[in-house]
């Protein structure tokens, strides 16, 4: 540990809000984690690189966050040891904010576990990572529409270049509990009640105000 980090721990003794990073394997959770916390978790281009959790600290907007990089999981019905860790983390930190990380090129698969997490009633924020890969593959994503449907902040990121990571960090305090019933209604094209926090439905750059 460097001298700087030790000093930080002395200045900010409280652990603050815990943030769990949940998502499919190989969507870039660890890369995003390293970007946010400045840590050095092992990143590779293979699913299943993170088998145990890593935690780091992020201080932003006057708040301290303990970010936990959780192993990737396809569902909350675990089928291997790494997935069990993910489920155990959710159970052990019931007051945590969940940062759901999606691969922009494979959003439908990521949304499966995303909705399972949202059903648990924990405050969520969604990071649509690997936007560069999506651009390369000519996949366009309507981030504003996804945010409107889910009713939680959605931020587009590219962890490898750092694009959108600051927005994501700024939006952490805006994490919200998703309303599964309202999501289902919006999917059917009905409008439940207006969400004043998201009237702009825009880029998220203003912090959703």
């Amino acid at each position: 540990m460097t001298g700087g980090k030790t000093e930080m721990a002395v200045l900010v003794p409280e652990r603050g809000t815990t943030v769990l990073m949940i998502g499919n394997p190989n969507v870039g959770k660890s890369a995003l984690f390293n970007r946010i916390t400045g840590a050095n978790a092992i990143v590779s281009n293979y699913p299943g690189t993170t088998v145990d959790f890593t935690s780091g600290t992020f201080i932003g907007g006057g708040r301290t966050y303990t970010i936990i990089d959780v192993p990737g999981t396809y569902s909350l019905d675990p089928r291997d040891a790494a997935e069990e860790v993910a489920v155990r983390m959710l159970r052990d930190y019931p007051d945590a904010v969940v940062m759901i990380v999606l691969d922009a090129t494979k959003t439908d698969r990521g949304l499966y576990v995303a909705l399972e997490v949202m059903e648990r009633g924990m405050p969520c924020i969604v990071a649509v990572n690997m936007m560069d890969a999506a651009h390369e593959k000519k996949i366009s994503l309507d981030i504003a529409a996804l945010q409107r449907i889910l009713g939680v902040p959605v931020v587009a990121t590219t962890a490898t270049s750092g694009e959108g990571v600051r927005d994501l960090a700024d939006m952490l305090r805006k994490a919200k509990v998703a309303d599964i019933g309202a999501i289902a209604q919006r999917m059917r094209g009905e409008e439940p009640e207006r969400e004043p926090a998201f009237t702009c439905g825009g880029c998220g750059g203003c912090g959703g105000r």
């Binding site: 396809y74 569902s75 019905d77 089928r79 090129t105 494979k106 439908d108 698969r109 499966y112 593959k137």
Partner: protein, 76 residues
């Protein structure tokens, strides 16, 4: 025509119509009813099969593939 996924020839495309095994396990991997898939790898001696769904490659045992019914021959 409805056939077992395990019987789909290499390179063929089809639409998933029935999942007669743990649907949850396959759904969370991105294989759902109504999805179009393409057989991209078949291994000899009853080895695993790999299908492509959009950008996703999903590998599964031949036995599991035998419990997934797919529709071929439609205009896809």
């Amino acid at each position: 025509m409805l056939t077992e996924l395990s019987g789909l020839p290499f390179g063929a495309t089809a639409i998933v119509r029935e999942i007669n095994t743990s649907a949850h396990d396959l759904n969370c991997m991105g294989l759902r009813i109504g999805k179009e898939l393409k057989m991209i790898t078949k291994q000899p001696i009853k080895g695993p099969v790999v299908v492509l769904i959009g950008e996703l490659e999903i590998a599964m045992g031949l036995e599991i593939a035998g419990r997934i019914m797919v529709e071929t021959g439609t205009d896809i």
